[in-house]
C-alpha cells in the first residue's frame, strides 16, 4: 500500500483537447507578438491608474497560488511526516513547476522594460527595502528549486546507457542524498514570497479599501496560498482520475479535506477578526461594490468548510468537488480583490481587461495545461501501481 512507484501514464499526446489548447496558445502567441512590436497599450487596457492588470494578477498572484500544490504537500509529507499522502506529491510538484515557470514567463510579457530584467540580479541595482525585489528573487530561486525537486523524474526516465554516457549517476546520487535541503528550501521560499505578495499591498494605503488593507496581509496571503495549494491537489487528482479512468484517491482526499477545512477556518478567524478589530466590519454591509465583493469572498471561503469538515458530506464526490472549486475561487477572488477590484486610484480611473489582454493570459494557462499533459504521459509522475488494471486511456 505504501509502495508508491511513479509511472508515465502513456497514451497519445496529440488529442483533440490538446489541439484546442494549442490553438488558444497560438492566439495568445499572436497577441504577445503584437505586445512586443507595438507596445503594451496595443493589446492591454492597463493605464496609469491601473498599471497592474490581469497578466500580473491572474498569471502571477493567482497563478503561483495555484502552483502551491508542491509547497503545501511537501509541508505535509516531509515536514509533518504524513507519508500516507506521498502518492499526491509528484503531480503536485509538477503543477508547481509549470505554475511558477509560466508565471515567470508572464512577468517577462508584463515588464515594460524587459531588456533590463537582468538588473534584478545585479547587486549594485538591488533595493532591499522593496517587497517586489524580495518576491522577484524568491520566486526565481523557487523555480530553480522546483525543477531540482522534479529532476529525479527525468533521471528515472532516462535510458541507463544515456546516463552512463553523460555520467549522470553521481548527480542522481547527490540529489538522493541531499534532497532534504531542497525540500527545506522548497517550503521556506514559498512561505517567504507568498506572504510577501500580501506585503506588496501595504504600500497601497488609502488606495485599497479598508476591508482589505491590514498589516495581517502577509499572513492572510500565506494561509490562502496553502488552502489553494491543497485545493489544486484535490482538483488535479479528481480531474486526472476522471479523465484517465484511474482508481480513485478518495480515501486520501477525504483525509486531506479536514486539514483544508482547518486552514479555511484559520483564514476566516484572522480575516474577520482583523476587520472587526479595526472597527471596519460596518463597511461589509453598506451594499456598495466593496461590501459585495467582501461578502462574496467570505461566503466562498466559508461554504467549503461545511463540506470538508464533515466526513459524510466529504465522501460525496460531487460535493467535495464543488467545495474544492469554491475554495479555489475564494482564494483567487481574495487575491484579485486585493490587487485590482478593491483598489481605487481616484480621478475616475476604471479598468476592465481587453480581449487580447485576456487571450494572452488564457494562452499562458493553456500552455501550462499542455505541458502538464505531456509530462504526466511521458514521465513517471503519477502513482503507477495500478497502471495495468487501469488500462490505456484512449
Amino acid at each position: 500500500m505504501s509502495e508508491t512507484a511513479h509511472q508515465p501514464l502513456g497514451g497519445r499526446i496529440v488529442t483533440k483537447p490538446f489541439m484546442i489548447l494549442g490553438l488558444l496558445v497560438l492566439i495568445g502567441g499572436y497577441f504577445i507578438l503584437r505586445r512586443f512590436i507595438f507596445g503594451m497599450g496595443d493589446v492591454s487596457n492597463m493605464s496609469n491608474g491601473y498599471p497592474i492588470g490581469t497578466w500580473v494578477v491572474l498569471d502571477v498572484v493567482i497563478g503561483t497560488a495555484f502552483g502551491c500544490g508542491g509547497f503545501a504537500m511537501a509541508l505535509l509529507v516531509y515536514i509533518f511526516n504524513r507519508n500516507a499522502y506521498h502518492p499526491l506529491i509528484r503531480p503536485a510538484l509538477l503543477g508547481g513547476v509549470f505554475g511558477y515557470t509560466l508565471a515567470g514567463l508572464a512577468v517577462m510579457i508584463d515588464l515594460g522594460r524587459y531588456w533590463n530584467a537582468f538588473n534584478l540580479l545585479l547587486p549594485w541595482y538591488a533595493q532591499i527595502n522593496s517587497v517586489i525585489f524580495e518576491v522577484a528573487l524568491c520566486v526565481m530561486a523557487y523555480i530553480t528549486v522546483l525543477w531540482i525537486e522534479f529532476w529525479p523524474a527525468f533521471l528515472e526516465r532516462m535510458p541507463p546507457a544515456f546516463k552512463q554516457r553523460f555520467n549522470l549517476h553521481p548527480l542522481q546520487a547527490f540529489l538522493r542524498r541531499y534532497m532534504y535541503v531542497f525540500i527545506g528550501l522548497g517550503v521556506l521560499l514559498p512561505t517567504m514570497h507568498q506572504s510577501s505578495l500580501g506585503s506588496v499591498l501595504l504600500i497601497m494605503g488609502s488606495k485599497l479599501s479598508p476591508l482589505w488593507y491590514t498589516t495581517w496581509l502577509p499572513l492572510l496571503f500565506l494561509i490562502s496560498a496553502l488552502t489553494m495549494g491543497y485545493g489544486v491537489v484535490m482538483l488535479e487528482s479528481t480531474l486526472v482520475q476522471r479523465a484517465f479512468k484511474r482508481p480513485s484517491e478518495a480515501a486520501l482526499l477525504t483525509k486531506l479535506s479536514r486539514i483544508v477545512a482547518g486552514l479555511l477556518v484559520a483564514f476566516l478567524v484572522v480575516r474577520i477578526g482583523d476587520v472587526l478589530a479595526r472597527g471596519q466590519l460596518g463597511l461589509a454591509f453598506t451594499g456598495d461594490r466593496y461590501s459585495l465583493l467582501f461578502l462574496m469572498e467570505t461566503a466562498l471561503f466559508a461554504a467549503p468548510v461545511f463540506v470538508l469538515a464533515s466526513r459524510r458530506r466529504c465522501a460525496n464526490e460531487r460535493l467535495r468537488f464543488l467545495a474544492t472549486l469554491s475554495l479555489l475561487a475564494a482564494g483567487s477572488l481574495y487575491r484579485m480583490n486585493g490587487y485590482l477590484l478593491a483598489i481605487n486610484p481616484g480621478n475616475g480611473w476604471t479598468y476592465f481587461p481587453s480581449a487580447p489582454e485576456l487571450m494572452i493570459t488564457i494562452g499562458v494557462v493553456c500552455l501550462e495545461i499542455m505541458l502538464y499533459l505531456i509530462f504526466i504521459k511521458t514521465l513517471p509522475v503519477l502513482p503507477g501501481r495500478t497502471i495495468e488494471s487501469a488500462g490505456r486511456p484512449s
Binding site: 509511472q7 515594460g112 534584478l120 517586489i132 501595504l202 497601497m204 502577509p218 486539514i259 466526513r311 481616484g346
Partner: protein
C-alpha cells in the same frame, strides 16, 4: 461515530499545527510589528509653493515643461483636427506630460477659488516626497532621492518597467508610456538638469504670477504660513520665480485660503506646498495620513527579514524535519529511483 469524531479532531489539530508552524515565525514577528522610523527632510531640500489663488490657468508652465524636457505636445483626439501639433491640451499628466494645470468647476463658476458656483486651478506633478513610496517599491533602485536637494529622480537604464511605482504612488505621479514598444517611466524631476546650470525649474521660471514659486522648502513653508496669517483681501507683495531671488514681484490682494498647507505633512511630508481656496480633496489632492505607507511596508519587511534571522532559523528547522522524514521513511525520499519498477 466516536471514531469519526476523533479522526476529525486529529485532522483539525493537524491542520492547525500545519498552519501554525508554517506561519509561526511571521505571526510572532508581526505581533511586534511597527512602522519604520519616518525620514527627515534633506538639509538643502528645494521645493515649490503652488498658490492656487494666484494661478490664472495660462499653462505657460505646461508648455515650458515640454520644451525643457523634450516632450511632445499632446492633444485629445477630438481636437486633433485643429492646428495639429501646434498647441498642447494634455488633460492630465501622462507618459508625455510631466506637469499639467487642471481646473475645478462647480455650478455657475461665477467666482474663482470658491467651492460652490466657483472654479479653481490646480497643478499636477511630482511632489518629491520626503519618504517616497516609489523609491520604496522599486526593486532595482531606479528611483533615487538626492541626499542634499531631495529631488526624486528616475534612471531609465536601471528600470525594468514593473510599474509598481505607478501603482504605489499616493499621488499617481509616475506614468508609464503604454503606447510605446520601448516605453519608459515619465515623472517630473524638478528640472534638475536646469538646476545644475543654476537655472530655475521651467515651470517656476515662466510663471507670470508667481503661483509656482521655487525655493528652499523651509523658506517656502515660512512663506506659506505667512500668507495664511495675512487677512484675506489685504495687499501683499508676491514674489516671482524664486523665493528670495532678484526678480520683481507683484502686488495683489491676498487670497481666501483653506486653513491647510497641503504637502507639509501628507504621506510623511513632501517638498511641495499647496495653498488653495477650494478644499484640496476637490482638486484631486488626496486625503493622506501623516506617515508614508513606505514606512509601513518597510517596517513589515524589516521585522520579518531582520538580518535574515527568521528565514534562516525557519530553513534550519525545515531541513532538519525534512531530513528526519527522509531517514525514517524510505518512501518519503522523493529521489528514490523507481527504476526497479519501470522500464529498466
Amino acid at each position: 461515530m466516536d471514531q469519526n469524531r476523533r479522526q476529525f479532531l486529529r485532522g483539525a489539530a493537524g491542520a492547525i499545527t500545519t498552519a501554525a508552524a508554517a506561519v509561526a515565525a511571521p505571526v510572532h514577528e508581526a505581533l511586534a510589528f511597527g512602522p519604520r522610523e519616518p525620514k527627515a527632510l534633506p538639509p538643502k531640500a528645494v521645493g515649490m509653493l503652488y498658490d492656487s489663488t494666484l494661478c490664472v490657468g495660462c499653462k505657460a508652465c505646461v508648455s515650458a515643461c515640454k520644451v525643457a524636457n523634450g516632450m511632445p505636445a499632446e492633444q485629445p483626439a477630438t481636437l486633433a483636427a485643429w492646428n495639429e501639433g501646434t498647441w498642447d491640451a494634455a488633460e492630465d499628466i501622462s507618459g508625455q506630460t510631466l506637469n499639467v494645470i487642471r481646473v475645478y468647476q462647480d455650478g455657475t463658476m461665477a467666482r474663482k477659488d470658491r467651492e460652490q458656483d466657483g472654479y479653481a486651478f490646480v497643478k499636477r506633478h511630482c511632489l518629491h516626497c520626503v519618504d517616497p513610496s516609489c523609491i520604496s517599491v522599486c526593486p532595482v533602485s531606479a528611483m533615487q532621492k538626492d541626499p542634499v536637494t531631495g529631488i526624486v529622480t528616475h534612471n531609465p537604464d536601471a528600470c525594468i518597467g514593473c510599474r509598481y511605482c505607478v501603482y504605489g504612488c499616493p499621488f499617481n505621479v509616475p506614468q508609464y508610456q503604454f503606447d510605446e514598444a520601448f516605453g519608459r517611466i515619465a515623472k517630473c524631476q524638478f528640472c534638475n538638469h536646469l538646476q545644475a546650470q543654476g537655472q530655475l525649474p521651467a515651470c517656476c521660471d515662466v510663471c507670470p504670477t508667481g503661483a509656482s514659486l521655487f525655493g528652499l522648502v523651509e523658506d517656502l513653508q515660512a512663506e506659506a504660513e505667512q500668507r495664511l496669517a495675512v487677512k484675506p483681501g489685504a495687499m501683499y507683495e508676491f514674489p516671482r520665480g524664486k523665493l528670495g531671488g532678484d526678480r520683481v514681484g507683484h502686488t495683489a490682494p491676498m487670497g481666501e485660503y483653506q486653513p491647510h498647507i497641503y504637502g507639509e505633512k501628507e504621506s510623511g511630508g513632501t517638498q511641495v506646498r499647496y495653498l488653495t481656496g477650494v478644499p484640496h480633496e476637490k482638486l484631486g489632492l488626496p486625503e493622506l495620513p501623516d506617515h508614508s505607507y513606505a514606512a509601513v511596508s518597510e517596517g513589515m519587511q524589516h521585522t520579518l527579514y531582520k538580518g535574515m534571522i527568521a528565514p534562516l532559523a525557519l530553513l534550519g528547522g525545515l531541513v532538519v524535519l525534512a531530513r528526519r522524514s527522509a531517514k525514517t521513511d524510505h518512501d518519503a525520499d522523493p529521489t528514490r529511483t523507481d527504476e526497479e519498477d519501470s522500464s529498466s
